[in-house]
Amino acid sequence: MKQLLTIRREWLLLVIIAVIALGVGTRAPVFLTWRNGMDIANDSAILAILVMGQMLVLLTRGIDLSVASNLALTGMACALIGKAFPGMNIVVLIAIALAIGALLGSINGWLITGFNLPPIVVTLGTMSAYRGAIFVASKGAWISDQDIHEGIKGLPRAEWLGLPALVWFALLVLVLATVFLKYRRAGREIYALGGNPHAATYVGIAVPARLRLVYTLSGMLAGLAGLLWVGRYSIAYTELASGYELTVIAACVIGGVSIGGGVGTVLGATFGVLFIGVINAALPVIQVSPFWQQAISGAVILISVTVNARSERRAGRQILERQGVTG
């Protein structure tokens, strides 16, 4: 029954997205062209990659506020490395981005499990720490277009089999996330421990190991997103993607991922990303100030959680479960 409800909710979101797209399309037919669809997909790809990482964390009742800082720090590191070694292969750079991101994420996981600290506070701290580290690494300088490694710049502009490379990256991440959460033991355990951490410990799930895994994966995906972001916008600076963590969390919440843990699907979260992408693309087309985007996301978050709460009444939770849950 619960399964049915969540499925219905996701398709409802898709219907809403379709209605918005069609509504805008009737006023501006250009909105419903393949080209525009690809633009939306391209713009949403990086967000989708970040959302998959954030969803894993949210499923465990955690939160990762450091993703945007991680993205910017890894992006800056890759830009600096690319500037120093212009001959470096892009595959090596991608591996470096994944490694740096994973390292930064694992620091979160290590602090949270090693000292039994609340994720929201740890990632609040690393959010500032990583952001400052960018300034230290770059000495405050911008790395602009001419200094960005050709491979990094070329990647988001490449097209494989008619689809932009960014979309392929996002699809790959989506597929991997689906397989991981649906068919892998570790993935199922993440749902279990988010649903009930105490029970998860009793049935023998290695909770600290799983938590370290999700924060490392979230970091790794943020690292990949950092490389792609720097390539797409051809610039790296300290304030890159500042505040983007809230957009990432917003996409998750709109997509039906519960902050309370244990509830959320790859499909739903993808629709959440798509929703934000469609709204962003639609506003300029119907000549509404793009400044509305943030207010609309906010309103949609509130509406979707309120609707969720109505269909599934449960007692209010504290911001975070009390200590001992993760131990």
Binding site: F115, L117, M127, G132, I249, A250, G298, I301, I319, R322
Partner: protein
């Protein structure tokens, strides 16, 4: 639940240490004028921190508080444009803050939603509305009295020249005293702790938990309005990105002040000491020509260290 515990002593020691170190290394730091001027940089954030401290002790959080501040500042701008006098402008700010807080409160208490999700939503909504209303414009030309409120010293206003304490800072101290007394010396305060420590038990003990939660959210909105009045007065204009990201600064102040994010523990004394510590630290580093972003890095690490250390010292046990 004591207002004066180990952590407060540690903070006080750190504060003294900080004054000594900056006093010795930065010529001019230890003068009365410099210290008085330094308070301009953290008084408004301190006001937000007081409200956040109460909410976190109660087991809730408000991420929308800085966005509420922006909305209040916007309301002041519109009130001024409509030809309102200073009192009406203040009333507009307070009304907007109160309503914004009440919206959070209703969503949390009436619909039983987790406050972190609600306030992420209202953060986007409030900040978004400010952006929609102003775009890339700003509103300026506020009455002189607001500039005085934000930039002047108590001594100037009452005619005692040696009293170089900014009005903002006096206001912060006043609110800190009231909030501290309420939390630590009244039944209301005890109940806030009780709700934060165990909401279910608190409800069974006959505490109207939801009424307290709602009240605290409205209070947070009102404090955001007060901070908006001072900040708008101090910088003399309303911009849509006013106080951007301050919610995280205020939460950092509160957590570093020893308030447990799980609720039920912490004190206003610790919060105030932490506001002073972070404020003076930022100011002193600024005098030493350290960039703001590096300071926020240090503060971020400080936040983590301040949580890791007590746990290391107590070999894994939670701090008292």
């Amino acid at each position: 639940m004591k207002a004066w515990n180990i952590w407060e002593r540690v903070l006080l020691a750190l504060l003294v240490l900080l004054l000594i170190v900056f006093g010795l290394t930065q010529p001019g730091f230890m003068s009365v004028d410099t210290l008085a001027d330094s308070t301009f940089n953290f008084s408004e954030k301190g006001l937000l921190a007081l409200a956040i401290a109460l909410l976190i002790v109660c087991g809730e959080i408000d991420l929308s508080i800085a966005a509420t501040l922006a909305l209040c500042s916007l309301a002041m701008g519109y009130a001024m444009k409509a030809g309102a006098g200073p009192w009406a402008i203040v009333a507009a700010a307070l009304l907007t803050g109160g309503v914004a807080g009440a919206v959070n409160g209703v969503l949390v208490t009436r619909y039983k939603l987790p406050s972190i999700v609600v306030t992420i939503g209202t953060l986007s909504l409030y900040r978004g509305l400010a952006l929609v209303a102003l775009g890339d414009q700003s509103i300026s030309g506020y009455p002189e009295v607001f500039s005085v409120l934000g930039n002047s010293y108590v001594g100037e206003v009452i005619g005692v020249r040696w009293l170089v304490v900014p009005i903002e800072f006096v206001t912060l101290c006043g609110f800190a005293l009231v909030v501290g007394l309420v939390l630590h010396r009244t039944v209301v305060g005890r109940r806030i702790y009780a709700i934060g420590a165990n909401p279910v038990a608190a409800r069974f003990s006959g505490i109207e938990a939801d009424r307290y939660r709602f009240g605290l959210f409205v209070f947070a909105g009102l404090m955001a309005a007060v901070a908006a009045i001072f900040l708008t007065g101090r910088i003399g204009s309303t911009r849509p990105n006013i106080a951007m990201g301050w919610e995280l600064d205020a939460i950092t102040m509160v957590i570093l002040g020893g308030v447990a994010i799980e609720g039920g523990r912490g004190s206003i004394v610790g919060t105030v000491l932490s506001v002073l510590l972070l404020g003076l630290f930022t100011f002193g580093m600024g005098m030493a020509n350290v960039t703001g972003i590096v300071m926020s890095m240090v503060i971020g690490m400080l936040l983590i260290v301040s949580m890791v250390l007590p746990r290391l010292l107590k070999s894994g046990r939670a701090p008292a």
